[in-house]
């Protein structure tokens, strides 16, 4: 600029990102789909944190919701069904400088990806994991998912889902080294924003289960809660999700809940009749695997050469 080589810090200062910088392709979700609300919120969180677009990577599996990376203007990795988490862990493993986001559906994460879900929570890499839970398989058109309520009619169970749904909150809480569990509906923008922002700022895996509207295949999954917010339990605490009085006014049922208290967290999480909203569990001391996996990245080529020669020496004839 002006014939001068800009100092990098100046350059960073000069770059200001607008929402448009985080926009990707035009989102092709159904009208009224909760995924759109999450996408817009994510753009805002990125913008407000002024993340460098080239330094963020959005990773997903397969499903309606897993189209997410295509709609964000950062780097993205749209992987395989159920495998978002291993791919994301790999991205972070040797690139701790990257800001990693995962978008995954209830089928993607809790069914085909269940093994990876359990272990990824334990790895506790520094990343955000957004679960788009619509209680149904959307992309493949209305099959039963692990969170489909008992009796709900689907194309694989026309007379009603036979089994009690899985409770992803209690399962996740049961995994050792889990560090951040929140739940939020997609239809409350300020709360969604604060929750995703808190997950993003958290050091470790910020696991956010989003109750996501799918008006096409599972309208009844969210409708009761959308129409009757008193059927949800708002969790408040100074270490919890920040919320202004406007948000609090919506929820008549509230509980002061200390997110550091695992037993109390289990208590609110297990009540399927009254989904908790807010920060359920927080452990800021849990070891973060990306700190170990990135070990040795500062080693110079000269040191490597010496170490490799020492390794060869051991086998020397």
């Amino acid at each position: 600029m002006f014939g001068l080589k800009a100092d990098w810090s100046l350059e960073v200062f000069e770059r200001y990102f607008t929402l448009g910088d985080y926009a990707g392709g035009e989102a092709r979700w159904c009208p009224g789909c909760g995924d759109l609300a999450v996408l817009n919120t994510m753009h805002r969180v990125l913008r407000d944190a002024q993340m460098l677009p080239e330094k963020s990577v959005v990773v997903s599996g397969i499903g309606c919701s897993s189209r997410l990376p295509h709609y964000v203007g950062t780097y993205g990795l749209h992987g395989l069904h159920g495998r978002a988490l291993p791919l994301a862990n790999g991205v972070k493993a040797r690139r701790p400088d990257l800001d990693v986001w995962v978008g995954t559906g209830d089928g993607d994460c809790f069914s085909i990806g269940a093994g990876a879900w359990i272990h990824s929570m334990r790895y506790n890499m520094d990343m955000v994991v957004l679960i788009f839970d619509n209680g149904i398989y959307g992309l493949t058109k209305k099959q039963t998912s692990p969170t489909t309520p008992t009796g709900a009619s689907t194309n694989t169970h026309p007379v009603g889902a036979p089994l009690p749904p899985m409770n992803p909150l209690t399962v996740t809480l049961g995994i050792s080294n889990v560090s951040f569990i929140a739940q939020v509906p997609d239809w409350n923008p300020p709360l969604l924003y604060e929750t995703i922002k808190a997950a993003h700022q958290h050091k470790g895996t910020g696991f956010v289960r989003i109750l996501q509207r799918c008006p096409v295949f599972s309208p009844d999954f969210c409708k009761p809660y959308q129409e009757n917010p008193e059927r949800m339990l708002l969790l408040t605490h100074e270490d919890g999700i920040p919320m202004d009085p406007g948000v609090k006014r919506v929820f008549s049922e509230q509980r002061e809940h200390d997110p550091h208290d695992w037993l109390a967290a289990m208590d609110v999480a297990r009540d399927l009749s009254r989904p908790p909203i807010g920060l359920i569990y927080l452990d800021t001391d849990a070891p973060v695997y990306s700190e170990q996996s990135a070990h040795g990245m500062d080693i110079t080529d000269g040191e490597k050469l010496a170490a490799l020669n020492a390794a060869l020496d051991r086998f020397a004839v």
């Binding site: 990376p69 295509h70 780097y75 862990n89 790999g90 493993a93 690139r95 070990h295 490597k304 086998f315």
Partner: protein
């Protein structure tokens, strides 16, 4: 029952001499119940011999059961060491000399055809006086049976001698046996003691000292009790060329580090795991990390994630793991992610023969993923190649933006052989991930019309932002289901292999360029095939061999080479139907895997000979098979 093979004659020269007799090579086995350290004895012996400049090949003898009862054929555990004054490339035929800690384990080796008439057995004799009458009887029955069938059995009080030095001879007898072998084969004492020091270096001074004492006692014992005494000259007189001695899995591990890869993401599976064990031991010194994933799918997913982020990674597995990884390999092909996949093949299908060798993953490596998924497939045929081919794999993976599958097998994994020490260069290491700005006019897949190659943006590069996807995509990586895009992008991915093929030279024929019979092999069978071919050629037979390293793309010039021979036949360790079977004819016969590929590729009527005995091919067996084929050709 002892069934020494018909061809066997003793290489062991009768005793009665104090000066060592010079011989060109010997095959030695140490066999015991598992847990008695026979393998450590043999490995140390092989290593010492390698360091003395001998050609060496060692093969582990692995028990058929996990917790076998003591003194049972199923429990036979140990090691075979073939050493000579020339370069040794395989395990050879029948053993010349065996040290056995009990007689029962020998039955399993005899059933495997490991011995011949004249094989010398140095056998622990304490069983002759065992308090249990059944054991005494079994022992004397076995000894007379062995002798009747031509083994030369010497009953020795090895344990009694060990008891003078240790209360637990079960733990110390192996170093005693090493001392015996060191005397019998005139090993240099200072090299032996140094090797013992290194072997037990982690266990402390006391352990080193007591093992050295046992070694010395064994050496003394053999000098007094055993008249066999040999010298095997080194074959490398050029001591200026440094060498190393490793097994194939250690070679893979060294290759990973020499290639500059920083991440191995794996899930334990025999016989691949020891490669990761080795890497885990030293990786941190070069700044690398081993991730033990929750399963093979996650292991390769993790590796792909790291590769996508600019740190080309490696995943090491065996057949069942490769099966789980196929969908991810398809993703790496589709999205053009460089990646190195090492498959240490074992017996299949399913859990198959976990510890034993087979070459039966070729077709799943080539064609395993759904859809058309062109990738590079290489096969290492020596332990040295295990090291260098990992380096090559990474280079190819990055240059061609493609996953590379490197096939090795259980034989290479556990075989130990000396080879030239690689001269490691800094250029081999990963250059720091390019984080300079990307030219936004260049799409994420800027396919070169000619070669299909394209440079890739790495996260962190400004203006390079793109979404990698396994869906059909345009050059800007936008999802596209239209016919043209799909057709064109398939062509681009496919032509990378065509372009790579153009850079390869036709393989070299071992032996004459023309003749009656051409044997084609791949992988670990190289040494055994060439040894058999050399022997037949010395006898004047018009037979040659060809060994393939590149299996995808297949090496060039094959049709032309094949046309110069009356018959072409593959030799492989995987299953094929045998035409001698009355049910089998040309129509229903299933061919060995490489034969299938070569027939399709060259339209030559390539025959095959293959077996799945679970052990490496022996040159003697191949000699007989190939002779028979040559005879049939002449008739």
């Amino acid at each position: 029952m002892i069934t020494p093979t018909e061809t066997g004659t003793s290489n062991v020269i009768d005793g009665g001499f104090s000066q060592p007799v010079q011989i060109s090579e010997h095959i030695i086995e140490v066999v015991s119940d598992s847990g008695e350290g026979a393998q450590k004895c043999g490995q140390t012996f092989g290593s010492i011999s390698g360091k003395m400049g001998n050609g060496v090949w060692t093969v582990e003898i692995i028990p058929a059961e996990i917790q076998p009862p003591a003194r049972s054929p199923a429990g036979a555990s140990g090691i075979r060491v073939r050493l000579g004054s020339s370069y040794i490339t395989n395990m050879g035929n029948e053993a010349d000399l065996v040290v056995a800690f009990n007689e029962q384990v020998l039955y399993s080796r005899i059933a495997n055809g490991a011995y011949k008439k004249g094989t010398v057995v140095l056998l622990e004799n304490k069983w002759a006086n065992d308090p249990q009458v059944e054991i005494r009887n079994a022992y004397s029955a076995a000894v007379s049976e062995f002798r009747k069938n031509g083994l030369i059995v010497h009953e020795l009080a090895m344990e009694e001698a060990c008891l003078k030095l240790t209360q637990n001879p079960r733990k110390g007898k192996n170093m005693f046996a090493l001392g015996m072998l060191a005397r019998i084969y005139s090993r240099e004492l200072d090299k032996c003691l140094a090797e013992i020091t290194q072997t037990f270096s982690r266990k402390g001074e006391k352990v080193i000292k007591s093992n050295q004492e046992l070694f010395n006692a064994g050496f003394e014992f053999a000098s007094e009790e055993i008249e066999y005494h040999y010298r095997i000259e080194p074959y490398t007189t050029d001591q200026s060329k440094p060498a190393i001695i490793t097994n194939g899995n250690q070679a893979v591990g060294l290759g990973v580090m020499a290639a500059g890869m920083e991440l191995v993401s794996m899930y334990p599976i025999t016989p691949a795991t020891s490669a990761s064990h080795y890497v885990a031991e030293v990786f941190q010194n070069v700044g690398g990390f081993v991730h033990q994933a929750e399963d093979e799918i996650a292991a390769i997913g993790f590796a792909i994630g790291a590769s996508y982020a600019g740190k080309t990674a490696c995943t090491i597995t065996s057949g069942p793991g490769l099966a789980l990884k196929t969908e991810m390999i398809g993703l790496a092909v589709m999205a053009e992610v460089p990646l190195v996949i090492v498959d240490v093949q074992r017996g299949g299908p399913a859990t198959g023969l976990p510890t034993k060798v087979e070459q039966a993953d070729l077709l799943s490596a080539l064609y395993g993923a759904p859809g058309d998924a062109p990738k590079v497939v290489l096969a290492a045929s020596t332990i040295e190649e295990c090291l260098h081919f990992v380096i090559l794999s990474r280079k190819l993976a990055e240059a061609f933006r493609i996953p590379v599958i490197l096939l090795t097998d259980a034989n290479l994994a556990t075989g130990v052989q000396p080879y030239p020490r690689p001269e490691v260069k800094e250029e081999w290491f990963t250059s720091p991930v390019d984080q300079s700005a990307w030219d936004e006019n260049i799409p994420a897949y800027n396919w070169d019309e000619e070669s299909g190659l394209s440079p890739r943006p790495i996260p962190g590069q400004r203006n390079g932002e793109y979404v990698l996807t396994g869906l059909s995509h345009t050059e800007r990586s936008k999802v596209a289901y239209d016919s043209d895009t799909n057709q064109v992008t398939h062509r681009m991915r496919s032509r990378k292999l065509a372009a790579l093929l153009k850079t390869l030279n036709p393989p070299e024929v071992h032996g004459d360029d023309e003749g009656d019979l051409l044997i084609v092999g791949w992988g670990s069978t190289l040494g055994a095939i060439e040894e058999a071919i050399d022997q037949l050629r010395e006898e004047g037979q018009r037979v040659s061999s060809l060994h393939l390293r590149f299996l995808s793309p297949l090496e060039p010039g094959l049709t032309e080479i094949f046309s110069r021979f009356k018959k072409v036949m593959t030799v492989e360790i995987n299953y094929s139907d045998n035409l001698d079977d009355p049910l089998i004819d040309e129509e229903n016969r299933r061919y060995a895997q490489l034969a299938m590929v070569l027939r399709a590729k060259t339209l030559v009527d390539v025959d095959c000979w293959s077996v799945v005995y679970g052990h490496p091919l022996q040159p003697g067996m191949l000699y007989r098979v190939i002779s028979k084929n040559l005879q049939n050709l002449q008739n």
